[in-house]
Symmetry: C2
Subunit: 420 residues, 2 copies
């Protein structure tokens, strides 16, 4: 199959000032890697026509597919469309349907700027990507043997537009189907996974397999190319089976974004709910599950008990017990999970107490965390030492991952604390 070497060219001075993060490039890259398109370069350039033109010239030399994000809105004089059209010798012509849509938008009393209608100007002969999430349309055209796709910059427009229009558009280019699955792993690191499968991976071509590190877990990506999706799936099935057997209960899911995303359907299937009592994670566990639409079916709520006083007041944990054992202790973690379960009436309770740092408490090392899970009649506690050199955000996220891992193990009948 022809390899489509792809460059993502993001236009926006705010990216270069560090005011916003280039999540568009990440999200587009992730979608492209799943359909087997090779992203070779990300480039960011400011709202400057000369420098943008130079970047386009470089992209034309090295890439087969150029995907731009940003610079399509009414306040930036449609910089990206003008420069790209000029570079490929195309005229910008007004698209009647898009112009109608923009009139409608203005009639609805939305903010009007003099440049608003210029958004209907598009390169002649292009395929229009209508923007249902904002005003600036995107488009695609082929010229000089290159494929160019233009998307607006705001992530809540760029990402759904790319998913809805650009992915099917690019998929049609390929005669072969590329299918990819991410096997998500928690409990062993990327380098250990690499060691485990290094020989096999080197010997594999199609399907292929590669490990990648995420912030607090890792994944093995398995990819196959074939004449049909079904064929590609068939080629991968034995590989995936083998990996799952080898890694056992370290595998928490496939093609999910996070461990909480794997836990949500497990709870739903079983008709169970959970609640959380959080000290050092301070709302991390609650926020992560409620980031997912539909969380209310499985998450009851919980308490953030950031001080000892509030541990006593909200959860009714005996002040003396806290004083004797310390807030960062096995008995306090145990009670937190049990009490939040009882108070909320949820089927399961999780509790977290620990030291996220940067300051210590004089007793424990930063990174000491107790994570607990309470079910009917039994409570488990994990004692973690996540490392004194880790950041506060790492420790909090990792503690959250352990809480979700304990839920996952409980729900799938695995030992909740395999190490003890």
């Amino acid at each position: 199959m022809k390899q489509y070497d792809t460059e993502i060219l993001s236009v926006g001075t705010e990216l270069l000032l560090g005011h916003i993060t280039n999540t568009d490039a990440r999200d587009i890259s992730e979608m492209l890697s799943k359909i087997g398109v090779n992203v070779r370069w990300h480039t960011v350039v400011g709202d400057n026509p000369e420098r943008l033109a130079e970047c386009v010239a470089i992209a034309k030399r090295r890439a087969d597919v150029i995907i731009t994000t940003g610079g399509l809105g009414p306040t930036c004089d449609d910089l990206t469309k003008q420069v790209l059209a000029e570079s490929f010798g195309l005229k910008l012509t007004e698209n009647a349907a898009e112009r109608e849509g923009l009139y409608e938008y203005i009639r609805l009393g939305k903010r009007y700027t003099p440049n608003n209608l210029s958004q209907a100007l598009l390169p002649e002969g292009c395929t229009v990507f209508h923007n249902r999430w904002g005003t600036a349309p995107g488009c695609a055209f082929e010229a000089e043997g290159k494929l160019v796709l233009m998307l607006p910059g705001p992530p809540n427009e760029c990402v759904p537009m790319f998913r809805e229009y650009a992915v099917p558009y690019l998929k049609k280019l390929s005669e072969e189907q590329i299918v990819s699955h991410a096997i998500r792993i928690f409990g062993i690191g990327e380098s250990a996974v690499d060691d485990l499968f290094a020989q096999e991976m080197n010997a594999m071509a199609n399907p292929s397999m590669a490990p990648y590190a995420k912030e607090c877990d890792c994944l093995l990506q398995v990819t196959a190319k074939a004449g049909s999706e079904a064929e590609a799936e068939e080629m991968m099935a034995p590989v995936i089976r083998h990996v799952k057997e080898r890694l056992g209960d370290y595998v928490y899911g496939m093609d999910v974004e996070s461990i909480e995303e794997a836990v949500l359907p497990l709870l739903k299937e079983r008709g169970l709910t959970f609640a959380a009592a959080e000290s050092c994670t301070g709302g991390e566990i609650a926020k992560r599950i409620t980031d997912i639409p539909g969380a209310s079916a499985v998450f009851a709520g919980g308490c953030v008990t950031y001080t000892n006083e509030v541990k006593a007041r909200l959860l009714g944990i005996d002040r003396e017990l806290i004083e004797t054992n310390g807030a960062v202790s096995e008995p306090v973690a145990r009670l937190m999970a049990e009490r939040v379960r009882a108070l909320t009436g949820a089927d399961l309770g999780v509790g977290v107490t620990g030291l996220a740092g940067p300051d210590g408490d004089g007793t424990h090392e930063v990174g000491t965390v107790f994570v607990s899970l309470a079910a009917e009649g039994r409570t488990w506690v994990r004692e973690l030492h996540l490392g004194t050199f880790r950041t506060r955000s790492f420790i909090r996220r990792m503690a959250g991952n352990h809480a979700y891992d304990m839920l996952r193990r409980y729900l799938t009948g695995l030992p909740v604390c395999p190490q003890g």
Copy 2:
């Protein structure tokens, strides 16, 4: 002053696969913009020596300063150092101090890989940036009229190293001092701020001023160049005063990252604490304040009451009252703030109930949110309609911003609900 056109070149296939986000480029850009260094390009390339060498050649042609991130670790064969050294005709030589440090690391029983000691190989004559956050050292060198800085990729190493070594290193290059302040604004949008100051901004050169949008608020960046920091500050003082007067209580802080970061010291100074009862924000408010070290002095904790059942059980809100008014209502929001304040013994309570979507409840539009603040003897409630076309994460973040804005206004003696 000489302009240092700067390129940030990030090396890592995982960035191109969308597995991780290029936060290094954002964070470095933000630090550089504050010292007046112009970042003109971000480039990302994979762990491939040929393509990296081509990117280095492009950067040498167009940039004065090249900053690389990533590709310094033991598992990537020190790709970045080798390619950069070769491109500038420099040898890699072993740094004795760094070699000692690596031996020490291995002696401490940390993971050893055969390539571990290769991290002590550095371009001849370079300035070494010792890595106290990990193992791979960074470095800087000047060659062929270009300045090259190399940093490791993991953000928890890259960012503190850049702050500690690279920023002072780059500051020394300039005879002029550049000082910049970000005036943070909540309650009116970037385009309105732009309209308000457009004429003045166009007429300004030094100091200069520009508005930028953040996810749920915006900022005005004021920058001055002068012979000394004090002089630059003096030049900016009247501009900042003028902006603050003009924008009034929309300004929530200067040089802070978020509205909660502005609220934390206000609470501390007054010796006050707050607690939060969260429904649709689901822990967002608690997580955001506890992301900041030292939050325990001002944040007591609170409840995530994601279901009506838990609103009744944890906060003691009458089930009938919820049924009559609906969970998304002014009276429920009011009681949430009052009850969490009473239950935790905090000085102030905030409450949030609303519809973050994507699904509606049949009664309210997605984006309908009630945010409340309870103090001794008085409670305020804001009713928000954040827009049906917004994402769940935007609505949750925006609701959180309103809660913190109400706290800020209360603490600084401003009207808590200026619109009603």
